[in-house]
C-alpha cells in the first residue's frame, strides 16, 4: 500500500514537472540557436537573467510586462478547461481596452474610485461579450471557435485603428501624420504605483513602473480559482471539458457552459486591456499593426496558461517567467546584439513541447489503469456521478 502511494505521488510529481521539462528542452533548443548565431550561450543567458531579475527595477519591469499576460492566462484557464480553444485573447484585450478607455474619458471629473471601478467593469464586460460571441457562435451554429476568434482578433484590430484615427483620436493630434492614440486619461483614473514597504523600513519597487494591476490580477486568479473548483458553475465547465458527451447525458447544458467559459475568458482578457491603459500607458495607443497595442500578450497568455497547468495560480508565476524572458531579451539584444525575437521562438517551442508532452501523461495513465484493476477509478459517465448531478 505504501509503495503504491509513493508511486502515485511520483506520478503526480512528474506530471506537474512536465511543463518545466518542456521549458528546459526549449532552452536547450534555444542554446543550439545561440551557438548557430555564434553567441556565447552562458553570456547570453546571464544577460537574459540579469535583464529580467538582476535589479529591483528589472524585476519590476518583468512584472509590468507580465501583468497583461497574467490576466489573459487566467482567462485561458477557464476556456481551455471547458475544452474551448480561445485564440481570441488579442481581440478581447482590445475590446476591453476600447470600452475601458471610453468609459474613463467619459467619466473624467468623477471621483477616482468611481472612474476606476467603472472602467474595469466596462473593460471586463466588453471583453466578455466579445469572447462570449465566439462561444455563442460555437454553441448555436457549431462555428469552430479557433477560426472565429482568429477572425474576431483581426476585426478588433481594425476597429481600434479606425476609432483611434477618428472618433477617439487625441484632439491635440489632428493632422495628417498623427499617431493613432486617445487623449491622456486624467490622474484620478490612473492606477497607483505599487510600492511595498518592508518591516525594516525599506521600500520595495520604489520609483519603478510597477502598478496595482498586479494585485488585481492576483485577486482575479483567486476568484477564478474559486469559480472553477468550488462552485457548481466551475464543476459543470470542467465536466464539459473533460467529457462532453457524458456531461450531456448528465443533464448539463453543454452549449451554455461553452458560452459561459468564453464569457469569463474574454472578460479576463478585457481586464488585461483596460489595466494596461489605466496602470501603464495612461492612454490607448497603437502603431496600427496587429500587435501594436497588445504586444502579443493575447498569444503569450496561452503559453503561460499551458505552462501553469491551466491553473489560475499557476498562471501567475508562469506569466512572470515569460515576462522575464521578454524583458531579459531586450537586455540580451542591447548587450550582445542577439535579436529579441529569439524569445518568440522559445515561446513557440515551449507551447509545442508542452502539448506534445501530454502524450506521456496519457501513456502513463493508461499503464496505471492496466496495472491497478483493483483500484476503483470512477469513469465520469458512471451512475455515481450522475447521481451527484441530480
Amino acid at each position: 500500500m505504501h509503495s503504491s502511494n509513493l508511486r502515485a505521488f511520483l506520478d503526480r510529481l512528474i506530471d506537474g514537472l512536465l511543463p518545466l521539462l518542456s521549458l528546459i528542452a526549449a532552452l536547450a533548443v534555444a542554446s543550439l540557436l545561440l551557438i548557430a548565431l555564434n553567441a556565447d550561450v552562458g553570456q547570453a543567458y546571464a544577460a537574459l537573467l540579469e535583464g529580467a531579475f538582476g535589479t529591483q527595477n528589472a524585476f519590476a519591469e518583468t512584472l509590468v510586462k507580465a501583468i497583461p499576460v497574467m490576466f489573459v492566462a487566467i482567462g485561458i484557464c477557464v476556456a481551455f478547461r471547458a475544452n474551448v480553444i480561445n485564440i481570441g485573447g488579442e481581440g478581447q484585450m482590445i475590446a476591453g481596452a476600447l470600452a475601458g478607455t471610453t468609459a474613463t474619458l467619459a467619466l473624467s471629473g468623477a471621483p477616482s474610485l468611481v472612474i476606476i471601478v467603472a472602467a474595469l467593469a466596462a473593460g471586463f464586460l466588453a471583453g466578455a461579450l466579445y469572447g462570449g460571441l465566439a462561444g455563442f457562435l460555437k454553441a448555436q451554429f457549431n462555428v469552430n471557435e479557433i477560426l472565429s476568434t482568429i477572425m474576431l482578433n483581426q476585426v478588433a484590430v481594425q476597429m481600434m485603428n479606425f476609432l483611434l484615427n477618428g472618433p477617439l483620436l487625441d484632439p491635440s493630434e489632428q493632422g495628417l501624420n498623427h499617431i493613432p492614440k486617445t487623449a491622456r486619461i486624467v490622474a484620478e483614473a490612473q492606477l497607483p504605483r505599487l510600492v511595498i514597504g518592508l518591516p525594516d523600513g525599506t521600500l520595495l519597487f520604489d520609483r519603478t513602473r510597477l502598478h496595482y494591476g498586479l494585485l488585481i490580477a492576483i485577486v482575479l486568479a483567486a476568484v477564478i480559482y474559486i469559480i472553477l473548483w468550488r462552485t457548481p458553475i466551475g464543476y459543470r465547465i470542467r465536466a464539459v471539458g473533460y467529457n462532453e458527451r457524458a456531461s450531456r447525458y448528465a443533464g448539463i447544458s453543454v452549449g451554455r457552459q461553452m458560452v459561459l467559459s468564453m464569457f469569463l475568458a474574454g472578460g479576463c482578457a478585457g481586464l488585461a486591456g483596460v489595466v494596461q491603459v489605466l496602470g501603464l500607458q495612461y492612454r490607448l495607443q497603437t502603431d496600427g499593426s496587429p500587435a501594436g497595442f497588445t504586444a502579443n500578450a493575447g498569444f503569450n497568455g496561452i503559453v503561460a496558461a499551458l505552462f501553469g497547468g491551466l491553473n489560475p495560480f499557476g498562471a501567475i508565476p508562469a506569466s512572470i517567467l515569460f515576462g522575464g524572458l521578454l524583458v531579459g531579451a531586450q537586455n540580451m539584444q542591447r548587450d550582445l546584439g542577439i535579436p529579441a525575437s529569439l524569445i518568440t521562438t522559445i515561446n513557440g517551442i515551449v507551447v509545442v513541447f508542452v502539448v506534445s508532452s501530454q502524450i506521456l501523461v496519457k501513456w502513463r495513465g493508461r499503464r496505471r489503469a492496466q496495472q491497478s484493476t483493483t483500484r476503483t477509478e470512477v469513469p465520469l459517465d458512471s451512475p455515481i456521478v450522475v447521481e451527484q448531478q441530480a
Binding site: V143, I146, Q158, T344, G348, V352, V355
Partner: protein, 308 residues
C-alpha cells in the same frame, strides 16, 4: 467613377493577390481532408517567405529561391506532422506554437542575416503570346500578364480537385479523414497518409510565403504575412474542403484587397479599416451558414489511436 473602381487592373491585381491564399489554403485543405488541422500555416509561410527571399538575395536565382521555400516548408511540415500525428498533440494549440516559432524564427534569421528590408528582382510578369494582347474587356490584362507563380497557383486548383476525387491517392486521403478506423482496417496506413498531406500542405505554405517575398512584394520584413496564413485556414472551411470552393473564397478576399487598393489609389475617402475588416466579417458569417458542415472531415483534429 464605377468604371474607375472596377478597372481591368483591379481584376488583374485580384488574381495576383489570390496567389498566397491559394497555395496556403489548398495545401491546408489536403491536411484537413486527412483529419489534421495545421494551425501553424502562418508561421510556415513566414519561414518560406524568408528563405525564398534570402536565397534569391544571395544567389539571384529564382528557382533556388522557390526550392528554398519548399525545403523550409518540408522541414516545418515534418515537425508539424510528428507533433500532431505521432505525438497526438492538441492540434489547435500546437499550431499556435508553430506560429510563434515561425514568427520569431523568421525575424531572428532576418535580423541576423539580412538586417534591413532589401528588395530583390522577383518573378517578372509573363505575357502569354497572343492571349495577353486581347483588348476585349481587358481580358489580356486580367488573365494573361501575370508572373509564373500566379499560373501555378490557379493550376493547382483543378489538379487538386482531380487528385482528391478521381485518384486512389485522393480516395485514401478522404478515407483517412472520414473514417480512419475503416481505412486502417483496409490496410491503409493512417499515419503515413497524414504525414504526406501535412508535409505537402506545409510545402505549399512555404511556397505561399515565397509568392509574397519573391513575386508579389519582392521584399521581406518581420511578420510579412500579417495574418494571411490564418485567413488561409478559414478559407478551407469557407470553401467546404473543396478546391473550387477554396478558390472562390481566395478570390473574394483578394478582390476586396484589390478594391481597397484601388479606392485609396483614386483618392476616395472611405475608412480603409472597414475594407480590411470586411472579409473577416464575411468569413464569420459564411462559417455560420456553413454550420451544418456535412462535408467536414469527420476525423478533423482527432488523433488516430489504434487502441494498442
Amino acid at each position: 467613377m464605377i468604371e474607375n473602381i472596377l478597372a481591368p487592373s483591379v481584376f488583374a491585381t485580384c488574381l495576383r493577390l489570390a496567389t498566397p491564399y491559394l497555395f496556403a489554403a489548398i495545401g491546408e485543405m489536403f491536411g484537413q481532408r486527412s483529419g489534421v488541422l495545421n494551425l501553424g500555416v502562418e508561421g510556415i509561410m513566414l519561414m518560406g517567405a524568408f528563405f525564398a527571399h534570402y536565397v534569391v538575395l544571395s544567389t539571384g536565382s529564382l528557382l533556388l529561391g522557390v526550392i528554398g521555400a519548399l525545403i523550409a516548408g518540408l522541414v516545418m511540415g515534418i515537425a508539424v506532422a510528428f507533433v500532431n500525428v505521432t505525438l497526438k498533440a492538441e492540434q489547435g494549440i500546437s499550431g499556435i506554437g508553430v506560429y510563434l516559432f515561425g514568427l520569431g524564427m523568421s525575424e531572428l534569421l532576418f535580423k541576423t542575416l539580412v538586417g534591413t528590408p532589401r528588395s530583390v528582382s522577383g518573378f517578372p510578369p509573363l505575357h502569354i503570346p497572343v492571349l495577353s494582347d486581347i483588348q476585349f474587356l481587358g481580358i489580356g490584362q486580367i488573365f494573361f500578364q501575370h508572373n509564373l507563380l500566379v499560373y501555378v497557383a490557379f493550376a493547382l486548383v483543378p489538379i487538386s480537385a482531380y487528385v482528391l476525387r478521381r485518384t486512389p491517392l485522393g480516395l485514401m486521403i478522404r478515407a483517412v479523414g472520414q473514417n480512419p478506423e475503416a481505412a486502417d482496417a483496409m490496410g491503409i496506413s493512417v499515419t503515413r497518409v497524414r504525414y504526406m498531406t501535412v508535409i505537402f500542405g506545409a510545402m505549399m505554405a512555404g511556397l505561399a510565403g515565397a509568392s509574397l517575398s519573391i513575386a508579389l512584394l519582392n521584399v521581406f520584413q518581420q511578420n510579412l504575412t500579417s495574418g494571411l496564413g490564418f485567413i488561409a485556414i478559414a478559407l478551407v472551411y469557407f470553401g467546404r474542403w473543396r478546391p473550387f470552393g477554396v478558390m472562390l473564397g481566395a478570390l473574394l478576399f483578394s478582390f476586396v484587397n484589390a478594391l481597397q487598393l484601388q479606392i485609396s489609389a483614386i483618392g476616395i475617402d472611405v475608412p480603409s479599416e472597414f475594407a480590411v475588416m470586411a472579409p473577416y466579417v464575411i468569413t464569420i458569417i459564411a462559417l455560420v451558414f456553413a454550420s451544418k458542415q456535412t462535408e467536414k472531415p469527420t476525423a478533423l483534429t482527432k488523433p488516430f489511436d489504434r487502441g494498442e
